[in-house]
C-alpha cells in the first residue's frame, strides 16, 4: 500500500516537473518569436529615422539624468564629463553624492567650479536629508547639478533625492560609473513620443559589459567581448535577457523590469507610485511593479517599452565573491518583491501584469531555483537507489541542454541582426562558445546565489551592500592614457 502511494507520488512529481520544464521552454520559444518580430520592426523604423530632428527641436521634452555616486573619487571626474556629452537639446545631469567618505565631492567642486546655492525643492518622496546643492559658475557646466546628501545606504534613497530635485517630466536613472551612448536620451525618448494608444511610463535599452572594451574619456571607442570568463558569461546572459527576453515582453507590453543601470521613467507616475523603495533589494523592479500597480489602480492605459540598442556599458563583476554578493541581492530582491506584491498574482484587475508578467516571474523566475535544486536532489537519490532509467534520463538531459543552447544562440543571432557591435569574428566566437558551457559552469552559480538570497530574506540575514570593487576600464590604445583604477 505504502509502496503504491510512493509510486503515485513519484509519478505526480515527475510529471509536474516535466510539464513545468516544458512550459518554461515553450515560453522561451514564444519569447524568441516575439522578440524577432519586435527587433525586425524596430530595425525597419530605424532605417529611415533621422534623430537629428530632435537635437535642434524646441519641442523635445526635458529629461533629468540622475546618477548616484558613493565613494567614486577615483573616477568621478571622467564619469561626470561622460554624462555631460549627451546629444540632446534639453537635459540636466543630477549627481547625488550619497554621503561619500572619500574626496568625491571635493573633486567635483574643484573641477567644475561649483558653488553651494539656495535651491528650493519639494520633498515629494522621502529621502535622507540633503546637505547642500551645488551649481557651476562656468556656463559650460550649466546642465550640472550636484546634490550632497547624507548616506541612505541604498541607491534608491539617493535616486529619490534626485527625483525631488529634477526639473523635467522624465528622468533617466543610471549609475555614475556606467558609460552611456551620446544618443541615449534621443533613443529612449522616442518610444515615449511615438506611442499611439498608451502613456509610456518607462523605457529601457540593452546593457553590455564594458570589461574589455576600449574606452577613452568616458566614451566607448571599440566594443569587444569580455575576456574574463565570468564577465563573458554575463555578457551572454545580458544579451539573452535584453535582446530576446525584454524585447519579447515589450511586444506584448509585459516588461517585468527596467534595469537600474539604464531606464527612463515618467516622473509624475514614479512620484505618485511612491518613488524607489530604499528597503528593497531589487529597487528597479520594485519601482516598475508599483508604477504598473498605480496605473492599473487609476485606470491609466500605460506601456513599458524596450529597444534592442546597446546604450549602456557597465563593468560586470569578475571576482566570484563580488558576483555572489550581486546575485544574492538580486535573488533576495525578487523574493521580497513577490511577497510584497503577492496580491497581484493572477489578479485580473492588473491586466497582463497580473495575469502574465507576475505569474511568469513567480513560477519561472522565483520558483525555478527551488524546482531545479529539488530536481537535482531527487535525481541523485534515484541514482543512489538504482532507480534511474539511464537512456531516458540522458534523453531528458539532452532535451534541456539542446534547448538552452538553441535559445542562447538565437539571442546571439538577434543581437547580430540588430547591430554588429563586435567587429571581429573572434569576438562573436568568444560569446557564441559560452553558449555550450554556460549551463554547466555558470547556471549552477546563478541557482545557488539566488537560493542564498531567498535564504537570507527568509531568515532576515543582514545584507552588506558592499562595494562593486570595480577594476576600471582599459583605455583606447590610440588615446594613450593610463587606466583608471
Amino acid at each position: 500500500m505504502l509502496r503504491t502511494l510512493l509510486e503515485h507520488l513519484q509519478l505526480i512529481f515527475e510529471k509536474t516537473v516535466y510539464i513545468y520544464g516544458l512550459g518554461l521552454l515553450v515560453i522561451y520559444a514564444c519569447l524568441a518569436l516575439l522578440s524577432f518580430y519586435s527587433v525586425r520592426r524596430f530595425l525597419r523604423k530605424e532605417s529611415y529615422t533621422d534623430y537629428k530632428v530632435i537635437v535642434g527641436s524646441e519641442l523635445a521634452p526635458g529629461v533629468s539624468v540622475i546618477a548616484p555616486a558613493f565613494n567614486e573619487g577615483l573616477t568621478i571626474i571622467s564619469n561626470v564629463r561622460s554624462l555631460l556629452t549627451f546629444d540632446y537639446p534639453k537635459y540636466e545631469v543630477i549627481i547625488i553624492n550619497d554621503g561619500s567618505t572619500d574626496d568625491t565631492l571635493e573633486k567635483v567642486i574643484k573641477e567644475f567650479s561649483l558653488v553651494k546655492i539656495d535651491f528650493a525643492f519639494d520633498i515629494k518622496i522621502a529621502s535622507k536629508p540633503i546637505r547642500g546643492i551645488y551649481k557651476s559658475t562656468d556656463d559650460a557646466y550649466a546642465k550640472l547639478v550636484i546634490v550632497d546628501k547624507e548616506n541612505g545606504k541604498s541607491k534608491a534613497d539617493a535616486t529619490n533625492a534626485g527625483i525631488n530635485i529634477a526639473s523635467f517630466p522624465y528622468f533617466l536613472c543610471t549609475d555614475v560609473d556606467c558609460i552611456l551612448h551620446e544618443q541615449t536620451l534621443q533613443k529612449l525618448i522616442r518610444p515615449i513620443m511615438e506611442e499611439e494608444n498608451a502613456r509610456v511610463i518607462a523605457t529601457g535599452a540593452t546593457l553590455r559589459m564594458a570589461n574589455s572594451c576600449e574606452i577613452d574619456k568616458g566614451v566607448i571607442i571599440k566594443v569587444k567581448a569580455p575576456r574574463p570568463l565570468l564577465a563573458r558569461f554575463q555578457e551572454l546572459e545580458y544579451i539573452r535577457s535584453f535582446v530576446l527576453g525584454k524585447m519579447g515582453w515589450s511586444q506584448i507590453n509585459c516588461v517585468p523590469n527596467v534595469s537600474g543601470g539604464l531606464g527612463m521613467f515618467d516622473k509624475e507616475i514614479a512620484i505618485k507610485a511612491g518613488g524607489y523603495d530604499p528597503a528593497s533589494f531589487g529597487e528597479d523592479m520594485e519601482l516598475l511593479m508599483r508604477m504598473n500597480r498605480y496605473v492599473h489602480d487609476n485606470k491609466i492605459k500605460a506601456a513599458v517599452r524596450y529597444i534592442p540598442v546597446t546604450l549602456c556599458w557597465t563593468e560586470g563583476p569578475t571576482s566570484l565573491k563580488v558576483f555572489m554578493r550581486q546575485r544574492t541581492r538580486w535573488g533576495r530582491g525578487l523574493f521580497q518583491l513577490m511577497l510584497t506584491h503577492r496580491k497581484m498574482l493572477f489578479n485580473p484587475r492588473y491586466g497582463r501584469v497580473g495575469m502574465v508578467m507576475f505569474p511568469y516571474n513567480f513560477l519561472f523566475e522565483l520558483l525555478a531555483p527551488f524546482v531545479e535544486s529539488i530536481g537535482i536532489v531527487y535525481y541523485i537519490l534515484l541514482a543512489i537507489f538504482g532507480l534511474v532509467n539511464w537512456p531516458y534520463a540522458i534523453i531528458l538531459l539532452l532535451f534541456v541542454y539542446s534547448f538552452a543552447i538553441m535559445i542562447s544562440t538565437l539571442a546571439v543571432l538577434w543581437d547580430q541582426l540588430t547591430f554588429q557591435y563586435y567587429k571581429t569574428w573572434t569576438d562573436v566566437a568568444r560569446i557564441a562558445s559560452m553558449v555550450f558551457v554556460e549551463m554547466i559552469l555558470y547556471h549552477p552559480l546563478i541557482v545557488i546565489f539566488a537560493l542564498r538570497g531567498y535564504f537570507f530574506h527568509i531568515f532576515n540575514r543582514k545584507h552588506s551592500w558592499g562595494n562593486m570593487q570595480r577594476r576600471g576600464f582599459k583605455p583606447s590604445s590610440a588615446a594613450g592614457t593610463t587606466a583608471a583604477t
Binding site: 535642434g56 527641436s57 528650493a120 519639494d122 539532452l398 532535451f399 539542446s402
Partner: protein, 384 residues
C-alpha cells in the same frame, strides 16, 4: 541504397512510436533545437559575411560615385555662367556606364545624391536633381512607391521629397491618413514640402493622430522650408476634430506669433479636456495675450493643477502687471509648492519697478521656505 535508408528510417520511426509520450516529445524538441541552432549559426555566418561583402562593395563603389558627381556636377564647366539648367548636358558616357545598371549601385547613387543635396543648394542643388532625373533614378523611387512593403514606400517618399520631385495628390494624400504611423508621418512631411499651393491641406482630412515624435520633424520642416505659405493656424484650432492637429497648431501659432489666432485659442479654454486647456493657456502666454489675462484669472480656481500652473506661467509671460496682486496672494497662501514656485517666477519675470518692490516686500514678510523659493528663482545659475 535508398531502400536501405528508407528501411532504416522506418525502423527508427517504429522504435520512436514505441517510446513513452514524454520521451517522444523530448526527442522532437531535441531535433527541433539542434536544427534551429544550426540554422541560427548559419544565419550569423551569412549575416556577417554579407556585411563584409557590403563593406567591400561600398569601399569600391563609393569613390566612383563621388568622382562621377564631382566631375559631372560640382566641376561642371557650365556652372556659374547663368546657363539654363535644362541646356546643361552631362557626359552620356559617364552616365551610361554599365556599373550604374546594378540596383545596388543605383540605390547608392540615390543615397549619395541626397547627401550632396543636403549640403548644396542653388544651382548645384538643381544640377544634382537633374542628374537624378537624367539617370532615371526617379523611376526607381516611383517603383518603390508601388511596393506593398511600407518601409520601401517610406524610402521612396523620402527620396522623392529630398529630390523635390512632385508626387500627385492622388498618390500621396491617402498615405497621409495611413494606419501605419511611420508611413503616415513620412507622407505628411512630404506633402508639406512638395505641395506648392496648399501644403496643409491634409490637416483638413487627417483623422489619424499626429504623434509627438512626428510633430518634431514636421515642426522643423514647416519652420525651415523656404517659400512655404504659412496659413492662419487658428482655422484648425476652431474646426478640426483631431486633437493632435489642434495641439500642434497651437505650437505653430505660438511660434509664428499669430496674434489674430487669440480669439480662437481662447475658445479652447472651455474645452473639457484639461490637457488641451493647458496647451491653450500655454499658447496664450507665449502670445503675450493681454486680452486673455482676466479670463485666465477668472477661471483659475476651477482648474486642475496643470492648468493652474500654466495660468501662472502665462501671467508671467504676459507681464502686464495687472495681476501682480493675484500672483502675490497665490505665492503667500497656496499650500502647493509648485504653485508658489511658479507664482514667484512669474512675479520676478515682470521685471518692473513694482514687481521688484514686491519681491523685496515678500522677502521681508514671508516665511523661510518662501524666501528660499524667491532666492531660487532669482539665482541666474538655475536655468530650469
Amino acid at each position: 541504397m535508398w531502400k536501405d535508408l528508407a528501411d532504416l528510417l522506418f525502423q527508427a520511426y517504429e522504435q520512436y512510436s514505441l517510446l513513452p509520450l514524454f520521451i517522444e516529445i523530448a526527442l522532437a524538441f531535441i531535433f527541433l533545437a539542434i536544427l534551429s541552432t544550426l540554422i541560427a549559426y548559419s544565419a550569423i555566418l551569412y549575416k556577417r559575411y554579407r556585411a563584409y561583402v557590403y563593406e567591400k562593395r561600398l569601399a569600391f563603389i563609393s569613390p566612383k560615385i563621388e568622382d562621377m558627381i564631382t566631375e559631372q556636377v560640382l566641376l561642371n564647366p557650365n556652372l556659374g555662367y547663368d546657363i539654363p539648367l535644362e541646356s546643361i548636358e552631362f557626359d552620356p558616357k559617364a552616365l551610361s556606364d554599365k556599373i550604374y545598371r546594378k540596383p545596388f549601385v543605383r540605390q547608392m547613387m540615390i543615397d549619395t545624391l541626397i547627401q550632396y543635396r543636403k549640403n548644396f543648394r542653388g544651382e548645384v542643388g538643381e544640377l544634382l536633381r537633374k542628374l537624378y532625373i537624367d539617370m532615371g533614378l526617379d523611376k526607381d523611387s516611383f517603383a518603390k512607391m508601388k511596393t506593398l512593403r511600407w518601409e520601401r514606400k517610406i524610402k521612396a517618399v523620402v527620396e522623392l521629397t529630398q529630390m523635390d520631385i512632385p508626387i500627385s495628390d492622388v498618390t500621396i494624400l491617402p498615405l497621409t491618413n495611413s494606419g501605419n504611423p511611420a508611413l503616415r508621418a513620412a507622407a505628411r512631411n512630404a506633402y508639406i514640402q512638395l505641395s506648392k499651393n496648399e501644403p496643409f491641406k491634409f490637416f483638413d482630412i487627417a483623422t489619424e493622430p499626429l504623434l509627438p515624435w512626428d510633430q518634431l520633424e514636421m515642426f522643423k520642416i514647416i519652420t525651415t522650408t523656404k517659400d512655404i505659405a504659412i496659413p492662419n493656424f487658428s482655422r484648425w484650432v476652431s474646426y478640426s476634430t483631431n486633437k493632435s492637429i489642434v495641439s500642434f497648431c497651437l505650437k505653430l501659432i505660438a511660434h509664428y506669433d499669430q496674434q489674430s489666432a487669440i480669439p480662437a485659442v481662447m475658445e479652447l479654454l472651455s474645452n473639457k479636456d484639461h490637457y488641451f486647456r493647458a496647451d491653450a493657456i500655454n499658447c496664450l502666454g507665449k502670445l503675450s495675450a493681454e486680452v486673455a489675462e482676466d479670463k485666465l484669472v477668472k477661471i483659475y480656481n476651477n482648474q486642475p493643477l496643470n492648468c493652474q500652473i500654466e495660468i501662472l506661467k502665462a501671467l508671467g509671460r504676459i507681464a502686464s502687471g495687472k495681476h501682480l496682486e493675484f500672483l502675490k496672494s497665490e505665492f503667500l497662501y497656496s499650500s502647493n509648492f509648485d504653485i508658489r514656485m511658479n507664482a514667484a517666477r512669474s512675479i520676478i519675470k515682470h521685471n518692473t519697478q513694482n514687481s521688484r518692490l514686491m519681491v523685496e516686500e515678500l522677502m521681508e514678510m514671508t516665511h523661510e521656505e518662501n524666501q528660499l523659493i524667491i532666492k531660487h528663482c532669482l539665482n541666474p545659475l538655475i536655468k530650469y
